[in-house]
């Protein structure tokens, strides 16, 4: 922990953050979310100072700050905003900021996939449902929001618990990540080049590293694979052999390799998926299929309002002096579906 950031400052930041989040939560009285946001930002700043104090020479660059600040701020608003729609939109913001972080982390494929799947597909579904399931807008906007949206449940306990958890997690992360060492065996960076010989040849040819066209990639005698051995430290090499029957071989050091002779992120992910985790794809596919089926079945299910809820709804509506118009039948409980409804 000490190597990463000043613990005292960090814990103080956690405490202040808890205070801020709790304050920012929607509540019955006027929600001081602004104050909460300020306090939350202060906490974030404190955390940064904590980082700076511990390691002044290793400050991350501002991209990281910007993206993470946006992501966390949006996340805060996402969980504190009383209106579901805005929450969802703030969530989109979080996602976008996160993709920024992804990009910093050289995970382009995932960044764009995230935008497409999350921001594009999932969140749109959310928005649809939010609109579908919210009570219609009226003159008094505040009234349209349900009690459950306007008042948070046990904000203090939750914030404290949450931030204790954050503190604990962070402490563990700090301890764990400082002990974590790269395992070169697991680093796969360009390992898959030997399964794409055409591309390697094309790159080599383009870089004019082949003496003539009869040269091709050499095959390793021991394992029968192309002899391409990239190494993390750049000391690797690949072997080319002439195909004209002389059996001549030539070694090309890694530092001489053309710039394009490396796996793009997308390729890496693809190899990882197909080569290392084929089962995961299958499982994911099944999960998606099942969820699709489930969603279809669930949404086709006809439900009847249960009696108590109905009474409450009526009472609610009556109190809003709208009971007479709507009558007993709610908008989703059409007459005649009672028999088929789920008990």
């Amino acid at each position: 922990m000490h190597s990463m950031m000043s613990p005292i400052l960090f814990y103080a930041a956690c405490a202040i953050g808890a205070l801020g989040v709790a304050l920012a939560m929607p509540r019955r009285a006027v929600s001081p979310y602004l104050i909460g946001a300020i306090v939350g930002a202060a906490a974030l700043g404190l955390a940064l100072i904590g980082l700076a104090v511990a390691k002044p020479d290793a400050l991350p660059n501002f991209h990281f700050y910007i993206f993470s600040a946006i992501a966390l701020g949006a996340a805060l608003r996402c969980i504190t905003h009383a209106r579901p729609i805005y929450s969802a939109l703030y969530f989109v913001l979080t996602i976008l900021a996160s993709t920024g972080l992804y990009l910093i982390l050289a995970a382009e494929f995932m960044a764009f996939a995230l935008i497409i799947v999350y921001a594009g597909a999932i969140l749109i579904t959310y928005l649809f449902v939010i609109m579908l399931a919210s009570e219609g807008p009226t003159e008094e906007v505040a009234e349209a929001m349900g009690e459950y949206d306007r008042v948070a449940r046990e904000p203090w306990t939750a914030s404290i618990a949450g931030f204790v958890l954050i503190a604990a997690l962070s402490t563990m992360f700090a301890a764990g990540s400082s002990n974590l060492k790269l395992n070169p065996e697991l680093a796969v960076a360009d390992r898959h080049l030997d399964v794409m010989p055409k591309r390697v040849l094309a790159e080599l040819r383009e870089a004019k590293l082949l003496p003539d066209d009869s040269w091709g990639l050499a095959i390793n005698g021991t394992n029968g694979r192309y002899d391409i051995n990239p190494r993390l430290d750049g000391q690797g090499s690949l072997t080319i052999a002439s195909n004209n029957g002389t059996g001549e071989r030539q070694l090309i050091a890694q530092k001489d390799w053309p710039k394009g002779l490396s796996l793009s992120n997308t390729e890496g992910v693809a190899f990882s998926l197909i080569d290392a985790h084929p089962g995961a794809i299958e499982i994911a596919g099944v999960i998606l299929l099942m969820s699709m089926l489930g969603a279809v079945i669930l949404s086709r299910k006809k439900v009847e309002m249960d009696e108590e809820a109905l009474r409450q709804a009526i009472a609610r509506e009556r109190s809003a002096e709208r009971g007479d118009e709507l009558g007993i039948e709610g908008p989703y409980a059409t007459p005649g579906v009672g028999q088929g409804g789920a008990a």
Binding site: R153, A161, G162, V164, L165, A168, M172
Partner: protein, 784 residues
């Protein structure tokens, strides 16, 4: 297989027979002076037991005749004959023993006192024979009496009665003849059980049930003392067999080398045993059960609660007399003497006030038992034993007479509602019997009671000062009591048996049935008309079976509630006294004759009579060291300067006559001719009633038995019951409450955590998050 037989004791008899000789052969070495009794002596015990078994069988087979009674009479008579034969064989000789088998046998080592043996064996010495003679004899007579008295209950009830009766005799035999204290205890509790069963014979009467319960419980209190006494005896002497104990006492040195005279055992054990004796013999504060025990059928009262069982206490002290007199200070005997005297006069005061003639007899028994205890206490075992013996007969006679009256007058027992019974048809013998019983009880000269009481009184006066603390005072109390006894005895006699022929029938439905008939129709015609199975008088002997030809069958217990009898209505019905039948008359006559004849025993044998001779040959005889002071010609105490043994003949006679005189003045006939019929009117009876007003509340208190029952109720029973309730609630609330509280702890914890389980999703999430947070923090803190 043989082993098993041995294990199960099937071959007990065989092994017993084989081992008896060995046991007896070894016995003299240990206890001294015990010879083997003939095997047939065990018949004394076996016959009543057989009777009990047969009675049970008869009940099972549904016998509805008088067979059980006849069987009982026969077996008990045989038992008596056996006793007599044994007596004749052993008379004058040393004690004999008979060991049947080891009842309880336990050993934890080979040393002295490390083997506990209570055998089913018997000692026959002169003390036990004396007791057994009147026990078996009287029980046979009273069984005969009961055969008729109980005839209204022929059937299972009858069998039940005679089962308990036989079992009683068996238990009494074990009590008296057992060769160790534990067998005595078996008999002791056994007679208690029979007493319980017989007092509660009329089990539908709540009073009878309560009385039975009271008798058993009060006895149990005493029994605890006895049991502890037995245990102490074993602890101190290392054995509970009489012969061995007596041998140790005789040697004067306990097994631990200490001298008995200097050891606490010489008064602690007697004190504990005395506790038991008081309970069984209704002395001091234990007396309360005996008057209530009169709820039982009269034959039971006669046999158990007058003649035999209640004298078990006397027997116990007499049996263990060597131990009692081994205390140089005679502390316990002083207590016994005073207890006896106080009980005697205490009971006498009550008797003078109450009206229930059966209870009068009951209190009289207590009073006379007081005499016996006082006799034991003032070092006169002879007097006590003789009085026990004579009392058994004359009190049995009195009870049988009272029973006849009760039987004949519909259960009437109030002496204010009966008069001139002796002159009524069929009751002549009863009158004579009552008179003879009364003069015995009052101590009229030359009756058995006179002699036996004299011995006690004389010995009491003759005792030197200091040997028994306050023996002279005891003597005076007894003398006064003798006068009171005479008074209350003849009060009853004059009121009930003499005087004009008048009566009001009682309210006992069973007995009323014997003599009721509509007005204007004589009872013979009435019975003839209705084909009533009622036997009447002597002609039918014992023919009271009502079990045929009549609408309501009340022959046996189970049906009694089903038949509601019409209450006796004096305006339309009349009641003829129902005189005793042949069986009852024979029994009364025999008892009466024996009561008279008992007097002759005083003149048989050596000085002090036959009983004195018997006692002298038994273990109850006073040891020389004590005897030199007490009794005999060496009397130190005097009665106004005279030798009490001589002058007491006159003094007690005079006192007795004074008592009778007062009774005659207050209750009796006016003038000499008043002894005959019709000489006194109903109105004149109130002479005594006017007299009692002088005493005011004292009479009322005495009439209410000095409120002792109430005092017990408020000081012992109610507090205990309240304590029981308190404990019950404490148990329920306190002890069980604690348990439930322990059970509530998990439940409470569950409740506490239940608030987190509201079914609200967020709640679960929150608790999960908090839990993870806390766990993580713990892990962190633990790792750093």
């Amino acid at each position: 297989m043989l082993h098993l037989l041995e294990l199960l004791g099937s071959s007990a008899l065989a092994t017993t027979l084989a081992s008896t000789d060995a046991a007896l052969a070894s016995a003299p070495a240990a206890g001294g002076g015990v010879i083997a009794a003939p095997m047939w002596a065990s018949l004394i015990v076996a016959l009543p037991l057989l009777g009990a078994v047969l009675s049970t069988l008869m009940a099972v087979m549904g016998v509805r005749t008088k067979l059980p009674a006849l069987m009982t009479v026969g077996l008990l008579a045989a038992s008596f004959v056996t006793t007599l034969a044994l007596f004749l064989q052993l008379q004058g000789g040393p004690a004999a023993g008979l060991k049947l088998y080891d009842w309880i046998s336990l050993s934890w080592g080979s040393g002295a006192g490390q083997t506990f043996t209570a055998s089913f064996g018997f000692d026959f010495d002169h003390l036990t024979l004396l007791w057994m003679l009147f026990v078996t004899g009287l029980s046979a007579i009273i069984a005969l009496y009961a055969s008729e008295y109980m005839s209204h209950d022929v059937g299972p009830g009858y069998c039940r009665f005679f089962f308990a009766f036989n079992l009683f005799v068996f238990s009494m035999a074990c009590l008296v003849m057992g060769d160790n204290l534990l067998l005595l205890f078996l008999g002791w509790e056994g007679v208690g059980l029979c007493s319980y069963l017989l007092i509660g014979y009329f089990y539908r009467k709540p009073a009878a049930v309560a009385a039975a319960k009271k008798a058993f419980i009060v006895n149990r209190i005493g029994d605890l003392g006895l049991l502890l006494g037995i245990l102490s005896t074993f602890a101190v002497f290392g054995t509970i067999e009489y012969t061995k104990i007596f041998a140790i006492i005789e040697s004067g040195v306990l097994p631990n080398g200490q001298k008995l005279a200097e050891h606490w055992a010489n008064w602690v054990i007697p004190a504990l045993l005395t506790c038991g004796a008081f309970g069984k013999s209704a002395q001091l504060f234990f007396y309360v059960w005996l008057p209530d025990a009169m709820e039982g059928p009269t034959p039971v009262s006669a046999l158990i609660h007058a003649a035999t069982m209640v004298t078990a206490g006397v027997f116990l002290i007499a049996r263990m007399y060597p131990l009692f007199v081994s205390d140089p200070h005679l502390i316990v005997l002083s207590v016994v003497a005073w207890a006896g005297a106080i009980t005697a006069i205490w009971a006498a005061t009550i008797e003078m006030a109450i009206f229930d003639i059966k209870r009068v007899m009951g209190y009289s028994t207590i009073s006379q038992l007081g005499f016996m205890f006082a006799g034991l206490g003032i070092l006169s075992p002879v007097g006590a034993s003789f009085h026990t013996f004579t009392h058994a007969f004359f009190k049995a006679t009195l009870f049988l007479g009272v029973g006849a009256v009760m039987h004949g007058f519909g259960g009437q027992l109030d002496l204010r509602r009966l008069s001139g019974v002796a002159w009524m048809r069929g009751f002549g013998l009863v009158g004579i019997a009552m008179l003879i019983g009364s003069i015995n009880l009052s101590g009229v000269p030359f009756t058995a009671g006179y002699f036996s009481k004299d011995i006690i009184l004389a010995d009491a006066f003759a005792l030197p000062h200091g040997q028994i603390w306050g023996s002279t005072a005891v003597a005076w109390i007894l003398l006064i009591t003798a006068g009171m006894t005479a008074y209350y005895t003849f009060r009853t006699y004059f009121r009930v048996y003499a005087g004009p022929k008048e009566f009001v029938p009682g309210d006992d439905a069973e007995l009323l049935e014997l003599g009721r008939h509509p007005k204007g129709v004589s009872i013979e015609e009435w019975h003839k008309q209705h084909g009533h199975g009622h036997g009447h008088g002597h002609s039918h002997g014992h023919g009271h079976g009502h079990d045929h030809g009549h609408g309501h069958d009340h022959g046996h217990g189970a049906d009694k509630t089903a038949t509601q009898r019409v209450d006796f209505d004096p305006t339309t019905e009349e009641f003829d006294p129902h005189p005793p039948g042949a069986a009852m008359k024979i029994a009364i006559a025999v008892a009466m004759v024996l009561a008279i004849a008992a007097a002759s025993l005083y003149f048989i044998g050596p000085k002090g009579g036959w009983v004195a001779g018997m006692i002298a040959q038994s273990s109850a005889a006073l040891p020389e060291s004590v005897a030199t002071h007490a009794g005999g010609d060496h009397a130190h105490g005097t009665f106004f300067g005279f030798d009490p043994h001589k002058v007491m003949y006159y003094v007690s006679a005079i006192v007795g006559f004074i008592g009778i005189l007062i009774a005659a003045v207050l209750h009796g006939p006016r003038g000499w001719q008043g002894l005959f019929v019709g000489s006194r009117t109903q109105a004149e009876k109130s002479r005594a009633d006017a007299f009692v007003t002088l005493f005011g509340p004292i009479t009322t208190a005495a009439r209410n038995k000095w409120y002792v029952d109430e005092i017990y109720d408020w000081t012992i029973r109610t507090p205990l019951l309240v304590l029981g309730h308190i404990l019950h609630f404490a148990d329920k609330l306190g002890v069980d409450g604690l348990v439930n509280l322990a059970g509530q702890i998990p439940r409470g914890l569950g409740r506490a955590f239940q608030t987190g389980q509201r079914g609200v999703l967020n709640g679960y999430a929150l608790s999960m998050a908090a839990g993870i947070a806390v766990l993580a923090m713990i892990a962190l803190l633990a790792s750093t």
